[in-house]
């Protein structure tokens, strides 16, 4: 019996690439491009613009994201940890700059820099930086976090979150909170601290809604899902049209590019936050299951990598990325189907948008990184 020949460099990282994760990511991004085309080509054509305008841009973002993903995967994540303080400082500076007059304003939020034809949205990048920093901090305490250390994590996160709240961008802060909770949980925070934070989170949300911190339109939008039969032409309009588009898709959908709610522009912000309605209407329940399954693969591979990771930092990195994806998918898809409040959170890999797409690819890059180096 021939003995198994052990490769010389069995631990070489490139031999342990997670192809399932890459395949699922690519599939999602490709589906995203098709859906963006469906959501935008009519309107663009009517305005006399190239119907592939958004598609071409999004393809560029995906290509850029893929390159960055490779770069992030190549640099050993343990070395990345050394950059954490620098990245944190940089993120805080950029977030401060974006709310200064240097940043650009649209739809009531000061959230990005206009760089020529491109928009650079620092809060999307800040999510990845936060994951890196919180994982780094959490990993330095051997799987047990005292109350004091939990507080330390919170203070660490509070600075960028405060700056983001000034934009204001409630959605991204909710993602931040999800990341914090997940990392704290796995990093070893005590159950009673987790419980306390959860209660604080709930009380905080109610307070924010009740105490007039938000503008009325924000409150209306956030709570619209609680009373869906309200004013159909007013604040619940988005929600009503979105839910209706998805439901009209039925089992197998109206067919690709054949959704009437989609083509006729009844769903607002469809190529960005409401991209799931295109899947729901045109591809039906079958399409929705497929999409959720692809996300499930990404999440499952990330979760699995968290368990396989060589060290706690690797685990926490994966947990942070997982929390980001899961929260964004649940919040975004849930909002289009009327079970979550409407906040501006993009659907990972699917929604049109450069910073968000690239940040998601970087997140996958981190997971690949941890996966590749589980033996090294």
């Amino acid at each position: 019996m021939a003995g198994l020949r052990v490769p010389r460099n069995a631990a070489a990282p490139w031999r342990h690439l997670d192809f399932s994760l890459i395949a699922a990511t690519v599939a999602l991004a490709s589906l995203g491009i098709v859906m963006i085309y469906s959501a935008t080509n009519h309107k663009l054509e009517q305005s006399g613009i190239d119907p592939y305008f958004y598609v071409k841009k999004q393809a560029t973002w995906i290509a850029l994201g893929a390159v960055l993903m490779a770069v992030v995967a190549t640099i050993d994540y343990r070395r990345l940890r050394e950059f954490a303080p620098v990245l944190y400082g940089g993120a805080v500076l950029v977030l401060a700059a974006v709310i200064s007059p240097v940043g650009s304003n649209a739809k009531g939020a000061q959230a990005w820099f206009q760089l020529g034809p491109f928009k650079f949205e620092p809060s999307e990048w800040a999510k990845v930086v936060l994951i890196l920093c919180v994982a780094s901090y959490g990993a330095s305490h051997r799987g047990e976090l005292s109350g004091r250390q939990v507080l330390g994590v919170l203070v660490l996160a509070a600075v960028p979150m405060a700056l983001i709240e000034l934009q204001p961008d409630l959605g991204t802060n909710l993602v931040f909170m999800a990341i914090l909770m997940a990392v704290l949980l796995v990093a070893g925070a005590r159950p009673r601290h987790i419980a306390t934070l959860t209660v604080l989170g709930i009380v905080g949300s109610v307070a924010v809604l009740q105490l007039g911190v938000l503008k009325q339109y924000q409150v209306d939008r956030l709570t619209a899902f609680l009373h869906p039969t309200g004013d159909v032409r007013g604040s619940t309009y988005n929600l009503h049209q979105s839910v209706n588009a998805i439901a009209a898709g039925s089992l197998t959908g109206k067919g690709l590019f054949k959704g009437t709610q989609t083509n006729l522009g009844f769903v607002p912000e469809q190529h960005t936050d409401f991209i799931f309605t295109v899947v729901g209407e045109e591809l039906g329940f079958a399409g929705a299951i497929t999409l959720l399954a692809l996300f499930a693969i990404v999440v499952w591979r990330t979760w699995r990598t968290a368990g396989l990771a060589r060290d706690l930092f690797g685990t926490l990195l994966c947990v942070g990325v997982l929390a980001m994806f899961v929260f964004q998918v649940f919040e975004n898809v849930g909002m289009t189907m009327g079970i979550m409040p409407i906040t501006g959170i993009p659907l990972p890999f699917m929604s049109y948008g450069g910073s968000a797409t690239i940040a998601c690819f970087v997140g996958v890059g981190l997971v690949l990184n941890v996966h590749m180096r589980r033996f090294a």
Partner: protein
């Protein structure tokens, strides 16, 4: 493995993640499988808008196909009130484009005569470049539209205004009655005259367009469309030339009467109104139907103002909207003697030669109640022929009296029965609406009047005097000019009472006939020669005998080849000057025209009404018409 290991905590995280995904899946299932059917319906309703395209109405043509009512397309600017209320600067901008004051524009927008359901036209005959400008800057003018409107137009002006009628916005009552015919609020509908009578033919069927629209209401494509089909044209029996002739002659006659002196009242005749009916006795076709005063139907285009509409109905201004030919009710006076004559001859109360001496006055029932001829002149011994020619009242007083005395044999209402046979006392059936029924007074109608208005009619009984009065066409008896013309037309054609026929045929937009409106006989009057001939001779004598009542009016009228039979009438009206009537037909014996003229407060039939008829007949007979003069000299 410790219970508090990262692995366990990852497990907890995994469970949370799995339940979140499960929740999304469950929700997707609920929406896309359970709720899908209703959602599909709603999504469809979102994108499909149904628009009705009104069909151009058909035209109204005269008997030779000459247009009386047509459609004209105009460029107009309309403003939607609902959309305007949100933006106050739009009117100012629009006023600049249209070069008109903002106040005027605002007044037009607020104009109550326009439908609340439709955009209000604020400017008409707008130059094309301005329409294009507004179209190109649609975003600056929300609710403002440049459109082509179809409106009624009247190439012949006021001609036959009453007969043609007008169109206006449908009201709630009409809408309720016609909902299943596809009418909607804001639609136009024929309100009177031919426009109303032939509404179903003229209207056409509106087109329906199903449009796919986007979320902003912009039209993307037409899903399905049914083109509107233009309404059918209605070809009338009326001849424009005869109609004009009738209207013109009537107008001249009324003016002449106003210039004449009423010797009895020592003032000019008021002659405020009148009407002319020209029928073809062969089939009841209406050749002309004139009513004076008249109005301009163009006032109704695009909606009439309340003030204008009130003026058209104001009695002080002669109620121009009233069609006196079909709606005016007048005592027929001596023109009714045709009926009394037929009744008497048929009942055998007299024979053609029965003579009665007209001494100028008559004592009813041999009593002391004395009734006299209008001028107290005596005609000597007269038979029925002579009595008609010279219009002897006494002869007919006597007949009325005799009928009353012989009511056991002849019944209580022998005269009225014949009147009914001639179509009096009930609508002639002309399809044009609003016709008055007139009244043939009987002991029964008297009783009813008394029961209803005990003060105005203190006595509910019918006496010999009432019969005497009835015999010469007075009392409560009333007829419309159309009924009178129709009765004489029936006599002229040998006894067939036709329903007056105004439309000859309905033809489609390509000129192909859709249907022909056949003549319709409503009854038959039994007129054996022994009855008809002596009466006919009497009526012929009216215009041709030197002592005929209309001999003066017809002096110089060449009867060769165009013999005219007629009857004058002068009806007394309480507190008013006399109504002048004249009804005639010719050329005898195969009469093609029946002409009836009725003029309110114009004096004597022979003096005021007969010259109008004569002028019409002059033209119809190919003579040169004479000027009309009214002398005020008493006649009948």
């Amino acid at each position: 493995m410790s219970l508090d290991s990262p692995r366990l905590r990852l497990g907890v995280l995994g469970v949370v993640v799995a339940s979140l995904f499960a929740a999304l899946l469950a929700r997707a299932w609920y929406l896309q499988v359970v709720q899908a059917p209703t959602a599909r319906l709603e999504a469809n309703g979102n994108r499909v808008r149904t628009v009705t395209i009104p069909a151009p109405r058909g035209r109204i043509l005269d008997r030779q196909g000459r247009p009386l009512v047509v459609n004209q397309e105009i460029n107009a600017v309309t403003v939607s009130r609902a959309q305007l209320s949100k933006r106050s600067d739009v009117l100012e901008k629009l006023a600049r484009v249209l070069v008109m004051p903002v106040d005027e524009l605002q007044r037009k927008v607020d104009d109550k005569r326009f439908s609340p359901y439709k955009p209000v036209p604020v400017a008409e005959n707008v130059p094309k470049d301005k329409l294009i400008y507004i179209g190109e800057h649609a975003a600056d003018f929300p609710g403002v539209e440049g459109v082509r409107l179809t409106q009624r137009a009247y190439p012949q002006g006021n001609i036959a205004a009453h007969l043609l009628g007008y169109v206006a916005e449908i009201n709630d009552k009409e809408l309720a009655a016609r909902k299943n015919k596809g009418y909607k609020a804001g639609d136009e509908i024929g309100k009177s005259g031919i426009e109303a009578a032939y509404e179903d033919d003229l209207r056409g069927s509106p087109g329906i367009e199903q449009l796919e629209v986007d979320a902003r209401g912009r039209v993307l494509r037409t899903i399905a469309s049914k083109l509107p089909s233009t309404g059918h044209d209605v070809k009338l029996t009326v001849d424009i030339d005869i109609q004009k002739l009738a209207e013109d002659s009537l107008d001249r006659g009324l003016k002449a009467a106003r210039a004449a002196n009423d010797r009895e009242r020592k003032k000019h005749f008021l002659a405020p109104a009148g009407s002319v009916v020209v029928l073809d006795p062969h089939d009841g076709s209406v050749l002309a139907l004139a009513s004076n005063p008249t109005y301009d139907p163009a006032k109704f285009i695009g909606g009439i103002t309340l003030a204008d509409f009130a003026a058209l109905q104001d009695p002080a201004q002669g109620s121009p909207l009233t069609d006196r030919a079909t709606q005016g009710q007048y005592a027929p006076g001596s023109t009714f003697k045709l009926i009394t004559s037929v009744a008497a001859l048929r009942a055998g109360v007299i024979n053609p030669n029965s003579s009665f001496t007209d001494a100028g006055c008559y004592l009813i029932g041999g009593s002391k109640q004395r009734v006299c001829n209008a001028l107290h002149e005596s005609h000597g011994p007269v038979n029925v022929t002579r009595a008609l020619t010279v219009s002897s009242d006494v002869f007919y007083y006597h007949l009325g009296d005799v009928f009353w005395q012989t009511r056991r044999q002849n019944g209580e209402t022998p005269i009225q029965d014949v009147a009914h046979e001639f179509g009096l006392g009930k609508s002639s059936g002309i399809p044009v609406g609003g016709e008055s029924p007139g009244l043939v007074s009987t002991p029964e109608t008297r009783r009813k009047l008394h029961d209803k208005y005990p003060k105005a009619y203190p006595n509910g009984q019918w006496f010999a005097g009432d019969n005497v009065n009835l015999a010469i066409g007075q009392g409560e008896l009333t007829v419309t000019p159309l009924q009178l013309a129709n009765a004489y037309a029936a006599f002229a054609n040998g006894g067939t009472l036709y329903e007056p026929r105004v439309a000859d045929s309905v033809i489609d937009a390509d000129g192909k006939p859709v249907r022909t409106v056949a003549p319709k006989a409503n009854g038959h009057v039994d007129l054996p020669p022994s009855v008809r001939d002596p009466i006919m001779r009497g009526l012929l004598g009216v215009t041709s005998d030197p002592r005929g009542t209309a001999a003066g009016a017809f002096s110089g009228f060449s009867q060769a080849g165009f013999q005219v039979a007629g009857k004058t009438g002068t009806a007394q009206v309480v507190n008013k000057q006399d109504t002048a009537l004249f009804t005639c037909f010719g050329p005898f014996p195969d009469s093609r025209y029946e002409v009836t003229v009725v003029m309110e407060e114009a004096g004597f039939g022979a003096d005021a009404a007969a010259p109008v008829a004569r002028r019409i007949l002059d033209v119809l007979a190919g003579h040169t018409p004479k000027d009309i003069t009214v002398t005020g000299i008493p006649g009948d």
